[in-house]
Symmetry: D3
Subunit: 135 residues, 6 copies
């Protein structure tokens, strides 16, 4: 009896799309205004989805207080009000596209979660652009 529990969180961050091994011209050509050297930013909305069996005693798949704390400490505290390119170590050598951010978040939370759970990450860069990653 597998159920998926979804928890929303959010963080506000600056970023630019940028490939270090390319010239500024090539970055501009490929990424357009998303490569503005002075950065732009987003209100990222994050959905963390954890699938597992319902515990018969609690009626819960996972204690939401624990999941919420994990997302707060490992993601929100690390990403919120930050410049993803400059302040977040995971993006020193990785372009902070929505795709890459979702993979990074999945990798961080995967290590925190017991193997009995499946994990999926949905990340909204804007209400109109979002990505999903499930490992």
């Amino acid at each position: 009896m597998k159920v998926t529990v979804h928890r929303k969180a959010h963080f506000n961050a600056a970023h630019r799309l940028f490939n270090k091994s390319w010239s500024d011209e090539k970055n501009l050509e490929v990424f357009g205004k998303c490569s503005n050297p002075n950065y732009h930013g987003h209100n990222y909305e994050l959905v963390v989805s954890v699938t597992g069996d319902i515990d018969q005693e609690t009626g819960m798949v996972i204690d939401l207080k624990i999941l919420q704390k994990m997302v707060y400490e490992k993601i929100e505290c690390e990403f919120d009000h930050k410049n993803l390119n400059l302040d977040v170590v995971y993006f020193h050598d990785k372009n902070p596209t929505a795709e890459n951010i979702a993979v990074v978040i999945w990798n961080i939370l995967r290590k925190e979660l017991s193997d009995i759970f499946e994990l999926e990450i949905t990340l909204y860069e804007t209400p109109r652009n979002f990505v999903t990653y499930k490992g």
Copy 2:
């Protein structure tokens, strides 16, 4: 040519998280403020998702008027403006967590729907916490 049709509904209900076989202290310890003996409540938003083949004559997977009536009679009339713990028979011996409510709703609607359809239930307890169950 399988298509999934999603229909939203909602009900407003009181509940508390509570395991009858535990002491009040243990309930409070595990469920925190969600176990307030005087109850709290939510605007539950429900998405009923039915997957099947498109009928070539109607262009529809299922007649939405029939689906809407089924959800209204079997779920909204039973759960809306109710205390889930006290007023809804399914939770006399089951903790009304979002996970358990979703499973209960799936079981109710599964019996009403023809076997040619697959069924998935998404239940929002709040805009930030929601669960999915597909049997």
Copy 3:
């Protein structure tokens, strides 16, 4: 140069519409299913709107961290995961309609805010029913 700053908060609570001086029959007749003796509940969404002059040094009307803390301590801690009729002293003699809850919240916050600010409260009982009060 008056600007209005709006801050959203939320609390999940149980309530029933109930006039103590009426019989149960009259309560049921007037308030319908909203008067269920076992309570029902809502995810209340609250918008606190504060109008004032922009401070020339900070560029802000009011420090949002202070406003947020005030709303958290005076409203969210008092109302969240509570039964409004039983647990919240303001409603021991007042019917917890959306109108009355908005007035109560306005009165609480009005005392906390300096007289240089105007205050307006918007309270969503559901996404479809909401009220506004500005004193």
Copy 4:
């Protein structure tokens, strides 16, 4: 390392549910007010979901500027501010139900996209009724 990229678009259109081989009475009986001969309409919200590998150089599954242009030219320009039954050739012999519109959009975009991508279409006819099709 498959990631799904979702892009939202929208178009506003008139339609009626109508099976040409049926009498007006039968259409009315089956489709109810949705078969009004003078049409009604919707703000359709479309989510185009493309799944593929992250390109290691760009950090992207697909260039969103290209996806956005494709959706604009092939879907929005063809469907927006149109009468689906009268103005859009795909529905001259097909009932413009949400299910059929989603399949038509999938077929159009499938031809435009490289085979290395999977495609899923979600179409909201209203915020309460929506459908999903993945081929």
Copy 5:
């Protein structure tokens, strides 16, 4: 102690922007694709806002059940799944712009409501375009 009570409703309708006294060319020039002779359509979202004193016995400004019934009978039944230009008598000689629709709805409901109430209408033609009218 004036409080404003807001109630949301919705209707799905077809329309075209059209001034009968102009040529088709002039209509197209002024209204663009909104003047498509075959119509297009929208999911209109309506907010009816009623301001008045809180009744001390009920704690309510107006009985929402009565307001809801009034909006359902006078607006939703008349406008939903209709072609505004052809099926709704108010627009036989009036261009169904969002502005004019809001004024028409205000005029209809003003006659139904007691003089002790103020009335404001907000009408969303799309989530991005909306209008407000208060008489």
Copy 6:
């Protein structure tokens, strides 16, 4: 017969809260994490509200195509995918708080609009924090 027409737009930008005449310590003390020297960012949602009489020939207060073009050219092109502190001249000597951004946008659009219209700006910095300015 005054009607208010509201049009939504959006821009994604980086910023930091910063008073040039203060030390870094004082900036951090007053603005907290919002003063991160490497910037953070937001998806700003903008509502431009124009009040005027309905033109009897068109049924419109203002031609939305013209309003949309004005907002696109004067606001979105200037603010979108920019660093407000570094790239937008209005904030070289002004702290880009939501309050100040709203006033700047109001001043820009006020010059573009005929005197027959009233103007109000609502700016969402996040879905939970927003401001309103009407001159």
